[in-house]
């Protein structure tokens, strides 16, 4: 893995984690309303996978955390304004932080119903194919969401038409209070790829390199006309389902144990061993993240709310 890429991913992971922490503070302090499903523990796979995309590729992110947007390079100002449902964000309060959108970077937005992403991703793949482009679509989804029928239909549709779509499952062990082994009949969701004759691969989602490699390969296949792939990244949701979740449905021991697999120290050790990361760089990255977040929060706080009547805009083109 290229050193520069490795370090970039690191920076984005740190920025994501710090932003997530700040968002949680803002919400708990009642400074912003809104709804956030924190991605703490899953940033490594999210940032690594998105690092494998080209700028003109399409992205369908999932509902879990801020790292997708950070990794894709959407300005933090905008993300925070969407969180606060203020002007200055990407959707003018229409969709909040669950519908961050960024056409310039192929960020198509989010479906409020889980699994709504799969057909949309397939359609973006169809566009690419029909227009003869060499772009790809990366579509994130959770273990719980893998049980929606839209997954099946879309996987098959992409496979029979050889559409350039990479399906990336973040298997974090839970869907709200439902553990994966009770929601999902198969041990490895990647095995479902066999039902569509597409490649399916399991990787450790807390290992940046594994994710980057598997997703890059899947993207390369898609880009060269070999059709869709399924990658399953095993990870864990370290925080509750949403900010404020009592998280009463799983044991503290389980969560404690998983904190020992927190991808950040793992990655730091690895980058340290490879002499990519020094204590000085680390502090610089942290300071830079803090500064970026401070600036963005300040920007957000100064932004106005949308005009009430603007609720009537943006429906028809």
């Amino acid at each position: 893995m290229d050193k520069q890429i490795a370090l970039d991913i690191y920076k984005k992971i740190i920025l994501s984690r710090r932003l997530e922490e700040r968002v949680a503070e803002l919400i708990k302090a009642g400074q912003v309303g809104g709804f956030m499903h924190p991605g703490v523990g899953q940033e490594a796979l999210q940032c690594a996978a998105i690092a494998a995309l080209r700028k003109d590729d399409y992205l369908l992110y999932a509902h879990r955390g801020v790292a997708y947007w950070v990794a894709r390079g959407i300005p933090l100002d905008k993300v925070l304004c969407d969180l606060a449902c203020k002007e200055g964000g990407t959707n003018h309060g229409k969709g909040g932080v669950m519908r961050v959108v960024y056409p310039e970077l192929g960020v198509l937005g989010e479906s409020g119903t889980l699994g709504g992403c799969f057909p949309i991703a397939s359609g973006a793949g169809l566009s690419i194919k029909v227009k003869g482009e060499d772009r790809v679509v990366l579509c994130f989804f959770g273990d719980g969401t893998s049980n929606r029928g839209t997954f099946h239909e879309s996987a098959n549709f992409c496979a029979v038409r050889k559409l350039p779509v990479v399906f990336l499952c973040e298997n974090n062990g839970w869907a709200v209070s439902m553990p994966t082994e009770r929601s999902t009949a198969v041990k490895d969701i990647a095995d479902r790829a066999k039902g569509y004759a597409m490649p399916g691969e399991v990787v450790d989602g807390n290992d940046v390199e594994q994710v980057y490699k598997a997703v890059s390969e899947a993207i390369a296949r898609a880009r060269h006309g070999a059709g869709p792939s399924l990658v399953e990244a095993k990870t864990y949701r370290l925080w509750g389902h949403w900010i404020g979740d009592p998280d009463s449905y799983r044991s503290r021991e389980e969560v404690e144990k998983q904190w020992r697999r927190d991808p950040i120290p793992i990655y730091e050790k690895k980058l340290g061993d490879e002499k990519i990361l020094t204590e000085a760089i680390k502090q610089e990255v942290e300071a830079d993240a803090r500064a970026q977040i401070d600036r963005a929060v300040e920007f957000m706080q100064k932004q106005p709310f949308p005009k009430p009547e603007s609720a009537l805009e943006d429906l028809y083109a």
Binding site: G93, G95, R99, G149, S177, Y249
Partner: protein, 324 residues
């Protein structure tokens, strides 16, 4: 009489009916181990066991359709959707399967299914905040229930569970915490299809649905203090729909306002307006007023949401206009 919350009333109804009838089961996402994301069903799994109260995968087609299949074969399933909006993800299972299975098969089977649908704008945006009752009021075969008070929440849900037809039971998220007097005893039922006159008056008829009822009552109070005594009618169910109750009231008042959280075009107010024009035209002395969402999705921002969702103020204003 004791006072309990709308949420508690729903739980009591489920609990009592499950105790009464072993064929009643309850399932949905996160209802068993977690007690539901709105915490209505906590403790029920412990009480009735994992066969009768269980969590499902995120598979709305399968589990709503399975509700139909289970109802055909002798159970009385109560299926919880996490948000009423997800009815659309199971559109076929709701409209064509639940609504039409009995009819299409010449009455050979009945479909005693209840689908619980948490509805209503609450800062959760276009796909989690709808009151989609009107879509389904158009569909033949589906009972549509939308309680506004704790007492009705309980009595109507119990009736819905005992009903032999598929019932979409809309529970408004903003009503969960509201409290009201609810009769004790497992025999307390509220029949489907009977409107409730929440307040009597002869100046104007105000029909209010679900979370609009408390807003309508507040508006009526204000109008009363100004000397206008209006009648507030809560239909409580939209199928069956108590048409005579509304027609009778309008014959007395000559004026009607409908307040609802549907999109305005083809919301419940449309049916009421057309019905009155068919059956009570000569009694109407002022135009219809529909207070509803102005035909846009529900925006996420509270500022925008407030603009589109009918309020006590907008209901009051509509009544005022007719009373002038």
């Amino acid at each position: 009489m004791r006072t309990i919350s709308y949420a508690q009333a729903i739980k009591e109804a489920i609990e009592e009916e499950m105790r009464r009838d072993p064929t009643v089961i309850l399932y949905g996402e996160d209802v068993a181990n977690f007690g539901g994301i709105f915490r209505i069903t906590s403790g029920l799994k412990e009480q009735f066991g994992e066969q009768r109260v269980f969590d499902t995968p995120i598979s709305e087609n399968a589990f709503v359709g399975a509700g139909v299949g289970a109802a055909l074969t002798g159970l009385r399933p109560i299926v919880e959707l996490q948000f009423a909006d997800f009815l659309f993800t199971a559109g076929d299972e709701i409209v064509l399967k639940a609504g039409m299975w009995r009819y299409g098969h010449g009455g050979a089977y009945q479909v005693p299914l209840v689908v619980r649908c948490p509805s209503g704008a609450a800062g959760v945006g276009p796909e989690h905040g709808q009151c989609p009752e009107s879509f389904f009021m158009h569909a033949p075969g589906l009972r549509i229930v939308c309680p506004a008070t704790a007492a009705d929440a309980k009595g109507l849900l119990k009736s819905a569970i005992r009903d032999n037809n598929p019932v979409l039971y809309f529970e408004h998220k903003l009503l969960y915490a509201t409290k009201g007097e609810v009769p004790e005893g497992a025999d307390y039922l509220v029949p489907l299809g009977k409107a409730s006159v929440r307040r009597q008056g002869d100046a104007l008829t105000l029909v209010a649905i679900s979370a609009m009822v408390p807003k309508a009552m507040a508006a009526a109070e204000r109008l009363a203090s100004e000397g206008h005594h209006i009648e507030v009618i809560d239909p409580r169910s939209l199928n069956p729909f108590d048409r005579p109750a509304i027609i009778e009231s309008v014959k007395k008042t000559g004026k009607i306002v409908v307040a609802e959280e549907s999109y305005k075009t083809l919301g419940v107010g449309a049916e009421i307006g057309a019905m009155l024009m068919e059956q009570a035209l000569e009694y109407l002395d002022r135009p219809l007023k529909r207070v509803a969402i102005p035909d846009v999705p529900i925006p996420t921002s509270p500022v925008l949401e407030k603009f589109v969702i009918p309020s006590e103020e907008s209901i009051y204003a509509a009544c005022r206009e007719l009373l002038n």
